[in-house]
């Protein structure tokens, strides 16, 4: 039980004597205004995380509707049109509302703490980035109440289903994505400025924790591709409302052009959702293996290679749209190449475990599950890269299984690992260990029950985005639905753990995990509102 407690000698740091002193120096507004007007990176980080958790449940609710309808063949609960709205909004909310804000929230909290900065570089801009999101999602969710309902063309919004044939609410969907995109770009600018400009004296780039590194690269990707999304949805807007023909052959355009632009954004976007997860796992595994990360430099280079390659692989989402043979070959080769740096990362994590001294606190459990299950998603990704085989996999549940493996036990588990890891720093209390373990095991079982059978359903020929299916897919779907209900329900435990941890629990010292070596473990737990107002004295670890 007490295995996570560090040796007594280091607990002296935890005296909260200095906590709060700094915060009283500035007169901060109280109550709701405090949260609306804040410029503090920790408060904004909390806001992001709360928004993300809320959206995780909203998107999760949509997933439950989908799985309930698919529990057995036939149409039972919802009309096909509403079903399509559910799949679309589930994707949009989970990507733009749950996963991305969660990583930005973690970055807000932890990047300044890990580089020894007093706050984010541009604190007011930071607050602006956050508050754009609730506005954007209010706008997005309001589409449910419009005539014709919410967007129903899938999160990928392929024209012309999303233009000529779309419900009127599509215009609002486009505007809400514009707001979310602006938020992401400004947030990314802030993170880059913080990392490049506000590091503690003596901290070189190659001394930064990997979470910071991966976020630096992610922020670059965000700034590079969110404008592309803005551009392509603007073209949609014009096709819908102003009679242009970007995506219509009748006027000389091409529906495939939409897909090229969308995936030029969309593939880097996929890595935007996984690189910070790599960073979190790369920080957690060394902590609980009590051993430095193996191959720090190669981790950094692998992350950078993945980011660069992400600009060269977009059309592997489009193998069946009728690309010329050369294009098909180019994108097959470049996509296969991604397996190399990704493999390096996995091998590095495994080698970090090798000959360590390992304990299994909840953050570590989630991080380990990440490594195993993300790798399974990587394998199916490699299979999907083989273009001729992709002609059979494409748009089936095999693809759904693949991207859910990298996004749920991938990105989402990494986020949960990060939350468990840093909760002591945020609240000053350890999360309840026993409940955390329950949450972990139920999640792991639920996730695999949900997504593993999808591989079989897809290979056997079940297309994605259908509300009803042929009888041979019935068993797979029933298992999947049961798993999904289990996974969904077990997330209530996660909320319980967090709430309990905020309200009380075993007190955590400054260095909450004995293997934690980064700067955040040098400030008291809970971290006072203002930290590192004077830059800390940074000593590079001996390599």
């Amino acid at each position: 039980m007490a295995s996570h407690l560090p040796p007594k000698s280091t607990t002296q740091h935890s005296q909260p004597a200095t906590a709060g002193v700094a915060s009283q120096a500035h007169a901060t507004p109280r109550g709701i205004k405090r949260w609306l007007l804040t410029t503090n990176h920790k408060e904004i980080g909390t806001l992001y995380l709360v928004l993300s958790l809320t959206m995780f449940f909203v998107g999760g609710l949509f997933a439950m509707v989908i799985r309930a309808e698919l529990f057995q063949p036939g149409l039972q609960l919802v009309e096909p049109e509403f079903f399509n709205q559910m799949t679309t909004m589930h994707g949009l909310i989970m990507i733009f509302g749950a996963v991305m804000p969660a990583f930005v929230g973690l970055a807000n909290w932890m990047v300044p703490l890990q580089v020894g900065a007093p706050d984010m570089a541009l604190p007011r801009l930071n607050n602006f980035s956050f508050w754009l999101l609730p506005v954007a999602f209010t706008l997005l969710l309001s589409t449910f109440f419009m005539p014709g309902g919410a967007p129903n063309f899938g999160w990928t919004s392929y024209a012309p289903l999303s233009t000529t044939y779309s419900p009127p609410s599509t215009t609002f969907f486009i505007f809400s994505l514009h707001l979310a995109g602006i938020s992401s770009i400004l947030g990314a600018i802030n993170i880059i400025a913080t990392i490049l400009n506000l590091r503690a004296p003596g901290m070189r780039l190659m001394d930064m924790p990997l979470f910071v590194w991966t976020w630096l690269i992610t922020a670059f990707l965000l700034i590079a591709v969110m404008p592309i999304l803005a551009g392509v949805i603007t073209m949609m807007l014009l096709d819908i409302n102003f009679g242009t023909s970007f995506f219509s052959a009748a006027g000389g355009g091409d529906p495939v052009l939409f897909q090229h632009l969308f995936w030029f954004f969309g593939h880097p976007e996929v890595y935007i959702m996984i690189l910070p997860a790599f960073g979190i796992v790369s920080v957690i595994i060394p902590t609980f293996a009590r051993k430095p990360l193996f191959g720090y430099a190669s981790m950094v280079y692998a992350t950078a290679s993945i980011a660069i390659l992400s600009f060269l692989v977009w059309a592997h989402h489009m193998f069946t749209v009728g690309l010329p043979l050369v294009a098909e070959l180019f994108f097959m080769y470049s996509t296969m190449l991604i397996a190399v740096p990704t493999g390096v990362k996995v091998f590095n994590w495994v080698t970090t475990l090798f000959r360590g001294s390992i304990t299994f606190e909840p953050p570590m459990l989630f991080a380990l599950a990440f490594v195993v299950l993300f790798t399974i998603g990587g394998f199916s990704g490699l299979m999907l890269a083989i273009s001729p085989a992709d002609f059979q996999y494409h748009d089936t549940y095999f693809v759904v299984a693949h991207f859910h493996y990298v996004l749920v036990p991938g990105a989402v588990f990494a986020i949960m690992a990060g939350v468990y890891y840093w909760l002591p720093k945020w609240t000053g209390h350890y999360p309840n260990l026993r409940l955390g373990q329950w949450h972990f095991w139920l999640s792991v079982i639920g996730v695999n029950l949900t997504f593993f059978p999808m591989h079989f359903a897809g290979l056997a020929g079940m297309p994605r985005r259908i509300p009803d299916y042929a009888l041979q897919f019935a068993d797979f779907n029933m298992v999947t639905s049961l798993g999904a209900f289990m996974f969904g329900a077990s997330q209530l435990l996660f909320v319980a753990v967090i709430v309990m941890c905020i309200r009380g629990g075993e007190k955590a010292p400054a260095k909450a995990w004995e293997g934690g070596e980064d700067l955040e473990w040098t400030v008291p737990s809970p971290a006072p509102l203002h930290t590192f107002e004077t830059p800390p004295d940074f000593q590079p670890r001996q390599h």
Partner: protein, 372 residues
């Protein structure tokens, strides 16, 4: 050719242990064309590569987790770099990938070689059915879902081929190379039959090529694979592969029938027979959007019942059905339906559900307009 033999042999070796699983529909079907077999082989090869790597990696993880637990008294060592090892695990995957890319490239080249086909079939996706045209043969028909509504809504027991049955399947000859040209009248669809190893998107305004040479007669089922709107799940593909001679006589029959249908253009049709034919066409073609009761689903699909503006403007009604509405979901039916069907359905729409205009539209008039 030798390459192909090697690939087939490899494929059989790899699938062997999975015979049982295959029979139960847990894996990609081997299919009935050379290409589908090649694809299946690639699939199995890459699958086993992943399994082997998985055993090594997961083995290492679980070994470490077990062996180096702190509760077993493990003391952490502090190594954190080893250039040789890092180079090895960069290079070996690279070599595996190159080895994998070679057969994949060969298969892809085969797939893209639609030249020297014996016949062309133009496949047109429409919300939510397929139209098949045997190019140069004057034979074309629409193929739509045959599963009754009651089965979908749970009021009747679901049949064996639930959602994978159509009124008229695509009939193809075995042992002949058939070039498939895909396009769409509205949104993107994707024509997919797993057993044939063909999945190709049907893009509006563009044409994609694929091809198939079926080795065994039989019925092969698939469905639309690209989200295409409300009834995306209800857009099956059924291909019936028959011996070449059988196919030739089938085609001759269809041609004769088509010629007969064209004869209807010569004569004056009565309101009742147009209404009867029109109701049938409306039910299979128009009702999916404009609803069986003509109520439509505004704003996207306008109502036809009680649509006074349309009833007052007969010309526009005819024009809309023949040429569609640019920038709206209404497709042009000039190539999809024959003049008799167009005349009949317009007549039906103008006289059903209380639209009692008393108009009848003659097939000959429609044929003339289309010819202009």
């Amino acid at each position: 050719m030798r390459m192909r033999l090697v690939r087939t042999a490899v494929g059989m070796a790899l699938t062997g242990p999975f015979e049982v699983v295959l029979a139960n529909g847990w894996n990609m079907p081997v299919g009935v064309t050379d290409l589908s077999r090649d694809i299946h082989t690639l699939h199995m090869v890459i699958f086993w590569i992943c399994v082997v790597i998985g055993i090594v990696v997961f083995g290492a993880i679980f070994y470490s987790l077990f062996r180096y637990r702190r509760s077993r008294g493990a003391k952490a060592s502090h190594f954190h770099e080893h250039t040789t090892v890092e180079v090895i695990w960069t290079v070996i995957p690279l070599l595996i990938l190159v080895a994998m890319a070679i057969p994949a490239t060969a298969t892809l080249r085969d797939m893209y070689d639609a030249s020297e086909a014996d016949m062309d079939v133009l496949i047109t996706g429409q919300q939510w059915r397929w139209r098949y045209e045997y190019r140069g043969e004057d034979v074309a028909f629409i193929s739509s879902l045959a599963t009754p509504r009651e089965q979908i809504e749970g009021q009747a027991a679901k049949g064996e081929h639930y959602l994978r049955e159509v009124d008229q399947p695509l009939v193809l000859p075995v042992d002949r190379k058939v070039r498939l040209l895909m396009t769409s009248d509205d949104v993107i669809h994707s024509w997919w039959v797993p057993d044939l190893g063909v999945k190709q998107d049907a893009m509006p305004g563009y044409i994609n090529e694929n091809w198939v040479r079926i080795n065994e007669p039989g019925t092969y089922r698939g469905q639309c694979a690209e989200l295409c709107g409300r009834d995306h799940a209800f857009m099956p593909v059924v291909v019936e592969a028959v011996e070449p001679e059988q196919f030739d006589s089938w085609l001759a029959e269809r041609k004769a029938a088509a010629a007969e249908a064209a004869m209807g253009l010569d004569r004056e049709w009565g309101l009742d027979e147009l209404m009867e034919r029109g109701e049938q066409v409306y039910g299979t073609i128009c009702a999916s959007c404009h609803q069986p009761d003509g109520g439509g689903s505004p704003p996207t699909f306008p109502a036809l019942a009680g649509n006074q503006a349309l009833m007052d403007d007969r010309e526009r009604h005819i024009e809309t059905v023949i040429n569609g509405v640019s920038g709206a979901p209404m497709p042009a039916f000039r190539n999809t339906l024959d003049p008799v069907e167009i005349a009949a359905v317009i007549t039906y729409e103008r006289n059903a559900w209380g639209n009692e205009t008393g108009d009848s539209v003659q097939p000959s008039a429609i044929a003339e307009r289309i010819a202009d």
